[in-house]
């Protein structure tokens, strides 16, 4: 295992961990930061996959702007997820 490969493994692992955290954190502001982190790690991976154009676009639009839009939305709604009993999949019920 050479050095480049171990960096790849590390970035992928970090990306997956921040995705899990973004989904699990109950503070939505923190979750949005986690989502932006996923985008940033993904843009690093794009760079390693020889796609600089995509890396730039993902960093500028995917990470920065969509996180900003999310934060504005949180500001106008509520910051914390409420704890309730689980009843998943509302969007497939008629």
């Amino acid at each position: 295992m050479n050095c480049i490969t171990c960096i790849e493994y590390m970035i992928v692992a970090l990306m997956v961990i921040s995705a899990v955290l973004a989904v699990e954190w109950r503070d939505l502001l923190a979750a949005v930061v986690g989502m932006a982190a996923v985008s940033l790690f993904a843009s690093l991976l794009f760079f390693m996959l020889q796609a600089p154009d995509v890396a730039m676009t993902e960093a500028a639009i995917g990470a920065a702007l969509s996180a900003a839009v999310f934060i504005f939305a949180i500001k106008r709604t509520q910051r914390f997820e409420t704890e309730e009993e689980e009843k998943p999949g509302w969007w497939v019920r008629w």
């Binding site: 796609a51 154009d53 995509v54 500028a60």
Partner: protein, 236 residues
């Protein structure tokens, strides 16, 4: 509760296994190019762009990009329509810190300039209209963060948005009139303009023009979205 969660996880893992089985037939890192190789072989002669991705985005698959610009236009229109209020105003209460306000004043022109640089050089370096436009929108975002009362000039921005979109379609229609095909690159293929300086700024046919239009459009649209989301209704 826990049971449902476990059920969800199991079904998701099944989907993942199924996807992985499909992906096993598409080996990673192998040369699978067919059309892509054609683009790489001919991109310089046919479009005059050095950056093959830009050539594909603007020229070969320009139709997709027109659609993409339209999607962003729909988003900004839709956000405007849904958050439409008779009277609305910004509701921020705290001004940014001194560092932020002075920094914004100083940085704003440079950020805009940098965005313009990115989209004008799209055919030579990585980047192009979308990151460039996003950078310009970031400059306006900074202004919104730093100053409580700042607002973009709406009417002008909306009109610029419309005009930029119209000029993109018009460039395509001129191609239809001159070359006989919609979105035909008439500057490069009919006029042979800038053929001798591939790799320098004045080349690439209509790519710089279209990327400038896209940059302006994306910048105004994203700032418009930010503006609509930051304002709330005021009761009289």
């Amino acid at each position: 509760m826990v049971v449902k969660r476990i059920l969800a996880i199991i079904s998701i893992l099944l989907i993942g296994y199924w996807l992985a089985q499909g992906l096993a037939g598409v080996p990673f890192g192998q040369d699978k190019m067919l059309v892509g190789q054609y683009y790489l072989d001919n991109v310089k002669q046919q479009t005059g762009a050095v950056n093959a991705v830009t050539a594909v985005v603007v020229n070969y698959r320009g139709f997709d990009t027109l659609g993409e610009v339209t999607v962003l236009f729909i988003a900004s229109t839709g956000v405007g329509a849904l958050l439409w209020k008779k009277k609305k105003k910004r509701t921020a209460k705290t001004e940014g810190s001194v560092v932020l306000t002075t920094g914004t004043k100083l940085l704003f022109p440079f950020v805009v300039l940098f965005g313009a640089y990115i989209f004008i050089h799209g055919h030579l370096t990585p980047g192009g209209g979308f990151p460039g436009g996003a950078t310009i929108a970031t400059a306006f975002l900074l202004l919104y963060m730093a100053f409580v009362v700042y607002e973009i000039p709406h009417k002008a921005f909306e009109k610029t948005e419309g005009l930029a979109g119209m000029s993109y379609v018009l460039v395509g229609l001129i191609g239809l009139a001159i070359g006989g095909y919609f979105l035909f690159d008439w500057i490069w293929q009919t006029w042979h303009f800038g053929t001798e300086n591939i790799g320098r700024l004045i080349s690439g046919g209509f790519i710089p023009i279209i990327y400038t239009i896209i940059g302006i459009k994306v910048g105004t649209e994203l700032s418009g979205i930010i503006d609509s989301m930051l304002k709330e209704e005021v009761s009289e």
